[in-house]
Amino acid sequence: MSEWPLLSLVIFLPLAGAGFIMLIRGEPAVVNQNARSVALWTASITFLLSLLIWVDFDPSRSDFQLVERAEWFTGFNINYHVGVDGISLFLVLLSTLTTLICILVSWESIQVRVKEYMVAFLVMETFMVGVFCALDIVLFYLFFEGILIPMFLIIGIWGGPRRIYSAFKFFLYTLLGSVLFLIAILAMYLQTGTTDIPSLMAAEFTPEMQIWLWLAMFASFAVKVPMWPFHTWLPDAHVEAPTAGSVVLAGVLLKLGGYGFLRFSLPMLPDASAYFTPFIYTLSIVAVIYTSLVALMQTDMKKLIAYSSVAHMGIVTIGIFTLNPLGIQGSIIQMLSHGLVSAALFMCVGVVYDRIHSREIASYGGLAERMPLYATTFMLFMLASVGLPATSGFVGEIMVLIGVFQVNSWVALFAASGMVLGAAYMLWLYRRVIFGALTKDSLARLGDLRPHEMAAFAPLVLLVLLMGLWPTLFLDPMAASVDHLLTQAQQTPVSQFAGR
């Protein structure tokens, strides 16, 4: 079954689809329609193929699977090397699913330069899948930074009024973080002579060097996560991006930071990771509480959800640095859950934005009357975001909280208080938008969800409930890999750090 290069196919099929779309010529209306169809077909087939990865995946193994290798930089020991393990498996699936949903979401809301739009999303899918599959650190970096180009164009061309400012801020902010990561990559390569991720995990670096490498990586991942105080690009990018742009940003791009910590910082630099754990805890707690308070005061729906993302990602970073299986598995589930839920919440905003063209909370009220189906969907995702049992949000948060409680009960206390605040701003948002009397004239003739919107929401609803009710389906495949990760993250004797 795995004789043929399944991963490469999933990585590069979208790129081929993008190339095909670029060749479409003819009447503008026909071109637009064809571009949409080709993009939808490409994304659907890619998603189905990515499901085959799950089928082929052997949950009992902890190493990388479906591995492919090819020579790339002859004589430099830098190779094309891809594979998945339990940590990256679901992130790959999340990427392919998110892209498919993005294309559905944009079906009607994007009417200008449809061809270029679809090309940008498919190219982005290649980069996103590639970044989670890459087992060579240079290849990883290639995809990691390559994502900036399509995202810059998506925000800048199809975004809101302040799109140019936001696009530049997004691009330069994230670039600034990642270039330091590049220096770390070079330093590791020159010390070990390899850029192979599994070999680098086995390599040992002196504690002194680990500190520097860790900080360089942190610069990159902390911006991507984003961790407080490096999060200021996120609200701008989210608010100005088109709906699908926000979906992919919240759904997948924010996961790159967490994934980076799991894939690089913990296994390659275990001593530095342990050394900096209190630092990460502090920043994460500030993120959880501070951004929750900020979210409470927002008048713009997208901004509110953007700040809630920062808070939720704070829970993820706490979970990652608990360094116990429960916390790490919880943080991965939380990443997946946040990917689904925040994507869905941005889509909920997008649905009404397409109709009224306002993101102000004050422009809405009483939508339940006109849009019952929409109100129900919104409620489900709002509750999932708050962490109601039986939704995916609950599983992730409770696992992280239990995990961190075993390590540090104060951190657990603060993180839990952030969740209470989370419930406050989300429920308040929901009340102001959905409940109350329908008094505004502009809302009087609103229609409920359309078929393509339902099609886009359906898989998310299903997955949020599935993950909430049957979490072992997702936890089992990652268990072996997480255990393996924890053995790699074992520190060398702590005494070397005692003097600091």
């Binding site: 020579e71 790339w72 930089f73 002859t74 004589g75 430099f76 330069r113 270029e116 240079v138 970096y141 290639l142 995809f143 930074e145 390559g146 900036l148 180009i149 810059f152 164009l153 800048g156 061309i157 799109r163 140019i164 696009a167 530049f168 691009f171 330069l172 670039l175 600034l176 270039v179 330091l180 590049l182 220096i183 070079l186 330093a187 390569y189 020159l190």
Partner: protein, 483 residues
């Protein structure tokens, strides 16, 4: 009978240049002469390129050891010839529109190209100086080629005066070095400056001052800070095809020459010149990044961008290792292709027949000419060094060499400067894609432009798929320099 085989290409090109000069002189002022001479000149460059490709790759000397042909020289000569041929191919359309079609242009370009080829093969201080002047003098004339335009003549004069000053500095440095060592040949210098048998080095102050003067003269030719002042004015004032020519091949030649001088005769003095180069490199990167932000003329902007890129190439140079040379060589190849592609784009910027040079003129290009806009966007992202485009790999190798040579601060400053630099490249992308404009640029853009533009853009896109060939060639060339 001396063996002239190593210098075949140079001899062929100089003969062709003189023959074309005669041909042009006899055909007189008629515009037909230029239309005949330019294709012949391009053909000669291409033939020269083939001679190099099939010729002997091992090291050989000619002209009493003044001229050296090795893998290093051949690698750079192929770049120079390809760059010069591409730039010459883009010229006739411009000259025709500006009504300055004269046959001297291709002849001057050929002479200058021969000078560049000799520069990378120079094996003594005299050969170095002669080659450098042969390269520079035609360039001064070409800069002032639009002789009815004040801008162009001003740029030519400025370039000439400052260039002569730099040549003077260089020559003074050469004389000092000769006076203190008693030899002009690179081999002789290398053995005179080599450490004694017990490993101690005697640093003669006279030679050291000579080295500084030589470094200053060469930094002028490279347009590296603090000898960069002429660059923006000359780039802006020169006719655009000349700017393209100036930005591409001569930079490769000057870098090749500098590498040879510093690594071969002054190889043992690496700790001395490293300090100079680290400073020049940092200053060039920072100035290139910050000064370009305020520019509104695309040629001026590209001038500052070129200063910055020379700074990045010098990061590898300053490493002082074979990996460093390798990084510089890879960087030069990628830089050459990006530059030729970018200037091909600048050359097609016309509105109602008039050349336009403001970056605002690119506004809304993506709506009117999507393919051209896509090509420019590719070049801009590549110049900014964003993966997976080729420009990233150029930077990767020079920074790798710097980290390896324990110059981590230099590499960190380099990557930070590249973030600042990304801003102005993105600004051009923003103008083309995010802004609207009712004014459109002229089309069609001409077949030769489409071909060169397309080829350069595709190279930038697909370099990441098969980088090994170029890297291998550069590796061999770097090894040849350091043996």
């Amino acid at each position: 009978m001396p063996d002239l085989a190593p210098a075949m290409t140079e001899i062929l090109l100089i003969c062709v240049a003189m023959a074309l000069l005669m041909l042009g002189a006899f055909r007189g002022e008629e515009p037909g002469a230029s239309r005949l001479v330019t294709p012949l000149a391009v053909m000669a460059l291409v033939i020269g390129l083939f001679i190099l490709l099939v010729g002997e790759k091992s090291e050989s000397l000619a002209f009493e050891g003044q001229f050296v042909q090795d893998a290093f020289a051949i690698y750079l000569k192929i770049l120079i010839l390809a760059g010069a041929a591409a730039c010459l191919l883009l010229t006739p359309a411009f000259l025709q529109r500006e009504r300055i079609e004269r046959f001297e242009y291709p002849v001057l370009a050929l002479f200058s190209t021969v000078g560049m080829l000799l520069m990378v093969s120079a094996n003594s201080l005299v050969a170095l100086y002669l080659a450098l002047e042969l390269q520079s003098l035609p360039l001064y004339v070409m800069t002032a080629f639009h002789r009815d335009q004040t801008r162009s003549t001003e740029a030519g004069l400025k370039y000439f005066v400052l260039g002569a000053l730099a040549s003077g500095l260089l020559l003074y440095g050469c004389s000092l070095v000769y006076g203190f060592t008693g030899t002009l040949s690179f081999e002789g210098l290398a053995s005179a400056l080599a450490p004694a048998a017990d490993g101690t080095r005697t640093i003669s102050t006279g030679v050291l001052i000579g080295l500084v003067f030589i470094a200053a003269g060469l930094a002028f030719k490279l347009a590296a800070v603090p000898f960069h002042m002429w660059t923006p004015d000359v780039y802006e004032g020169a006719p655009t095809p000349v700017t393209a020519f100036l930005a591409a091949a001569p930079k490769v030649a000057a870098m090749g020459l500098t590498l040879r001088v510093f690594y071969q005769p002054f190889g043992a003095w690496a700790p001395e010149w490293q300090q100079i180069l680290v400073f020049i490199s940092i200053a060039s990167m920072l100035l290139g990044a910050f000064a370009a932000i305020g520019q509104s003329n695309i040629k001026r902007l590209l001038a500052y961008s070129a200063i910055g890129h020379i700074g990045y190439a010098l990061v590898g140079f300053a490493a002082g290792t074979q990996q460093g040379v390798h990084g510089v060589l890879v960087y030069l190849a990628i830089y050459l292709i990006m530059t030729v592609g970018t200037f091909a784009c600048v050359l097609v910027m016309r509105r109602k027949g008039q050349a336009v040079e403001q970056i605002e003129d690119l506004a809304g290009l993506a709506n009117h000419q999507p393919m051209l806009a896509a090509a420019i966007a590719i070049f801009m992202f590549s110049l900014a060094g964003i993966p997976p485009l080729a420009g990233f790999f150029g930077k990767l190798y020079v920074f790798m060499a710097a980290v390896q040579a324990n110059l981590v601060p230099l590499a960190v400053i380099g990557v930070l400067a590249s973030v600042v630099g990304a801003y102005y490249y993105l600004r051009i992308v923003k103008l083309m894609y995010f802004d609207e404009s009712s004014q459109v640029l002229d089309r069609p853009i001409g077949r030769e432009f489409s071909i060169i533009l397309g080829a350069a853009a595709i190279f930038n896109l697909v370099f990441c798929l098969a980088p090994s060939w170029l890297l291998g060639q550069a590796q061999r060339a770097a090894a040849a320099l350091l043996t």
